[in-house]
Every structure is written in structure tokens, then in C-alpha cells.
């Protein structure tokens, strides 16, 4: 269970989240929605212990482990995995080199180099990307869609148990979006990870079918519901669905 209690976060002098609370049961899928700039990505970054976000007060525990006492590496080794909106490009560092180093350093690599490459090749086929991606520099000179698929290549190899998908659907065409969604669904069915997805798109919600949908406004979650809440938002908008008081938001 991920439990975020009374969390207040700032970056620079600006408070982004205030008394933020969220609980996600192990193996469930939750969606986080809200206007641009509401602080959705901040949650993703704070969970991954990005140093640019300072926790002023509150707590975050994952299965009773205090995430706030961990650094980014430790959180990742706990099984958290972030796919950001625009994954970073790292020239000169190949996917294979990074993945093999990470798995070796965590003592999780049971494959010899041949088996390791065979596993990567199979995942590439599944993601409909050329096997040359294995030795390509991380996200370097890749299109938006290729970057997201490349991140899923990492996911399948590192086998995390908690996915944070920060607008993974942004910049994807219809076919790529379906492929990415289906791949995450397949991963969910095989490994049963917990998923926190941040999205503005209907397609991914339809594929992954979150059990709970949360709406973030004014630095905290103001409403939680089931998938019907997302449907209502898509039909009527945040204001139309009487979820967000526009005047209050602007203030």
C-alpha cells in the first residue's frame, strides 16, 4: 500500500502541494487528473525523490517503508518506475549498457549476455521497435512515440512493481497509444504492479480501467470516484462536471 499523508511540497519558494493525501492499494490502478499546472507531475517527481522538490511536511510510505528517507536510487530499487512526459536523452549511453548495469548492481541479473540480448529482442518485437534499439543511446534522436516505447523496453527488463505513468500518452499517435496501452495492460496482467497514471486522455483510461480516479485541484485531491468520474469529466469538463470551481482555481 502506498500511503501519502498530509504532504506539503515546495519547489523554490512556491508551495505546489499542501496537505495532500492519497492511498493506493497494492496491485491496483489509480488515475490522477486535473488542470495543467495543478501539481500532478509533482507527485510523480516527489515519489521518485527528485531533489528539486522539497518536502516541507507529511509522510510517504510504501508497504510501511518510509520513502522520504530514501534517495532516488533506493526508491527505484524498491520497485518504483517513472515514465515521464518527455524522457531524457542521454548520448553515449546505450539501453543495453544501462539495463545490464542496473540489473547487475541490484543483483537481479540472472541472464548471460546472450540470454539478455534474446530477452531484449523479444521485447522489441512485442513493442514493434527494431532490435537495433537495444544498442541505441537512451532516447537519443528518437521520436516522441519511440521514446515512450523505449521506456517500456526498460520497464519490461527492470520488472518494477510500482509504475508511475506521467502522461505517457502525450505525443502518441492513435496506433502507438493503443500499443503502449496494451503493453502496459499485458505487463499489469503478468506482474500485477501498482499503477498511478496521470493522464488527460480517454484511450489509456479505457485500456487500463483504473479502479479509482482522483481529481487534483488547489494543491490537494478534491474528489475521488470510480471510472465514471473520468467519463463525466470527459463529457462535461472539470468545470461542467462541477468538480472544479473555475473562479476559485483562478484565484
Amino acid at each position: 500500500m502506498l500511503k501519502i499523508s498530509n504532504l506539503t511540497v515546495k519547489t523554490g519558494d512556491k508551495i505546489i502541494l499542501e496537505d495532500f493525501n492519497l492511498e493506493i492499494e497494492e496491485g491496483s490502478i489509480h488515475a490522477l487528473m486535473g488542470h495543467n499546472g495543478a501539481g500532478k507531475s509533482t507527485i510523480a517527481k516527489v515519489l521518485m525523490r527528485d531533489k528539486n522538490y522539497e518536502v516541507v511536511k507529511g509522510s510517504i510510505t510504501l508497504n510501511d517503508q518510509d520513502l522520504l528517507k530514501m534517495n532516488t536510487t533506493e526508491v527505484a530499487r524498491c520497485g518504483l518506475f517513472l515514465v515521464g512526459q518527455n524522457p531524457v536523452e542521454i548520448a553515449g549511453v546505450s539501453n543495453a549498457e544501462m539495463l545490464r548495469t542496473s540489473l547487475n548492481d541490484q543483483g537481479k541479473n540472472t541472464l548471460n549476455i546472450l540470454e539478455f540480448n534474446q530477452k531484449l529482442t523479444k521485447i522489441c518485437e512485442k513493442l514493434e521497435i527494431p532490435s537495433s534499439f537495444i544498442h541505441r543511446d537512451i532516447n537519443y534522436n528518437m521520436s516522441g512515440g519511440e521514446k515512450k516505447k523505449n521506456e517500456l523496453l526498460h520497464m519490461w527488463m527492470l520488472e518494477p512493481n510500482f509504475l508511475i505513468l506521467d502522461e505517457i500518452d502525450s505525443g502518441l499517435d492513435v496506433d502507438s497509444l493503443k500499443l503502449v496501452g496494451d503493453s502496459i495492460k499485458e505487463y499489469f496482467e503478468e506482474y500485477h504492479p501498482t499503477i498511478l497514471m496521470i493522464t488527460h486522455q480517454k484511450t489509456l483510461l479505457e485500456i487500463l480501467k483504473p479502479e479509482k480516479v482522483h481529481v487534483l485541484q488547489n494543491k490537494k485531491i478534491i474528489q475521488t470516484g470510480d471510472a465514471s468520474l473520468a467519463e463525466k469529466i470527459f463529457k462535461e469538463g472539470f468545470s461542467g462536471a462541477s468538480i472544479i470551481d473555475r473562479g476559485n482555481l483562478d484565484a
Binding site: D50, A76, V88
Partner: protein, 216 residues
């Protein structure tokens, strides 16, 4: 690709791919046709490069410098090209001087220098001199160094352009590792030291043919 140990002060390369594993204190490299040359060690030595007419040299260095004073002098023949990729990790006190006097026409020289500070200092003196009455020449210097200590690196550009018909530029960027790259690798389960090392190595390998140097 063949490897050679040069025991004389002059070497003529013609339409070949070569790794120069060793050479004396100074070496005059004469280039005809299209040549690829890799140099894995460069220790307080001088290299004089003479590009013959219509030649194209790709010259790559992948170095660990420690207390070195290196010098490269370049002389272009008409319609010649040079791609010089100098990648180094430096410790101790180091100086690198590169001189390029262009007296002929239709040349294109691209000089890329990448450095990673390994608790040392590096002084790069880049002299570019494009003489009057020359035309259609292109000259680019691009220097990038990763260091957290600004005073570990000193770059002195000395670009003198006396011709009106030339494209010439000098660019230098000095700074620490990008925080977002470090965060990204750490978020994949790598620790800070390993992430930092991968990023630095990747940065240095980015301008050279990695496969060639991997075997050395």
C-alpha cells in the same frame, strides 16, 4: 583497420584506416585521399598534419591525459577536409595547443574537443588563422567540458579571420553533469557514482568511433 607503431618522424597515409598505437615526440602526418586515423595515446607530443589537395582526414583521439603538453599543427592543401575529434579525461596539469593556418581555398575543418575533469586542469589554446585572399573555407571549433570546478579548465580561442569569404565559428561550453540526466539514471536503479560515470563516458564516446577504441 591496421595498427601501426611509428618509429620515424614522418608518415604518409593514403586511402586507409589506421590506428597509430605509438609515435615519437613529434610526427609529421601526410594525408592523401580519404583516411581514418585513431590515436589512443598522446603524451606530451607534437603532431603536424599536412592535408594534401583533395584529401579528407578523420582523426580521432580517445585519451586519458595526465600532466601532458600536446600540440597539433594543421596545414590544409586546396579542397581538403579535416574532422578532428579529441576526447579526453584529464588529471594533473595539461596543455593542449591546436594551430590551424589556412592558406588555401575550399577547405572544411571541424574540430570537436570533449573533456571530462578527473581532478585535474586543462588549458586549451585553439589558434585558427584564415589568411587574406583565401576563399570558400569553413572552420568550426566546438569545445565542451564536464566539470564542477570552473577553474579546472581554461580555453583560449585565438581565431583570426582575414578573409571575407569564410564561415568560421568558435563555441565553448563548460559545466557540470546535467541534473536531469543524473536523476533519470538513478530512477532506473543506478547509484549516483555509476550514473555519473556512465554519463561522462558516454559524453566522451559521443564524438569517436567507439568500436575502434573498444579493442584498444
Amino acid at each position: 583497420m591496421h595498427k601501426i607503431k611509428v618509429e620515424q618522424n614522418s608518415l604518409h597515409l593514403k586511402e586507409e584506416e589506421v590506428v597509430i598505437t605509438e609515435f615519437l615526440d613529434s610526427l609529421k602526418l601526410i594525408v592523401s585521399g580519404t583516411v581514418y586515423c585513431a590515436i589512443p595515446t598522446f603524451q606530451s607530443q607534437t603532431l603536424e598534419i599536412v592535408l594534401e589537395e583533395n584529401s579528407h582526414l578523420t582523426l580521432e583521439f580517445f585519451l586519458e591525459l595526465q600532466n601532458t603538453k600536446n600540440k597539433i599543427c594543421i596545414l590544409n592543401g586546396e579542397n581538403s577536409q579535416l574532422d578532428l575529434h579529441y576526447s579526453c579525461k584529464y588529471s594533473g596539469e595539461n596543455e593542449f595547443r591546436i594551430e590551424n593556418r589556412i592558406k588555401t581555398n575550399h577547405n572544411r575543418n571541424v574540430i570537436l574537443i570533449r573533456g571530462v575533469d578527473n581532478e585535474g586542469t586543462l588549458f586549451v589554446h585553439a589558434v585558427g588563422d584564415i589568411l587574406e585572399d583565401t576563399k570558400d573555407n569553413a572552420y568550426l571549433e566546438d569545445i565542451k567540458v564536464i566539470t564542477s570546478h570552473q577553474n579546472s579548465i581554461k580555453i583560449k580561442p585565438d581565431l583570426k579571420v582575414s578573409s571575407n569569404a569564410v564561415l568560421a565559428s568558435h563555441n565553448a561550453t563548460i559545466g557540470p553533469i546535467e541534473e536531469n540526466e543524473l536523476f533519470y539514471l538513478e530512477s532506473k536503479g543506478l547509484d549516483e557514482a555509476t550514473s555519473s560515470s556512465l554519463i561522462k563516458d558516454g559524453f566522451l564516446k559521443g564524438i569517436i568511433n567507439e568500436e575502434v577504441f573498444k579493442d584498444l
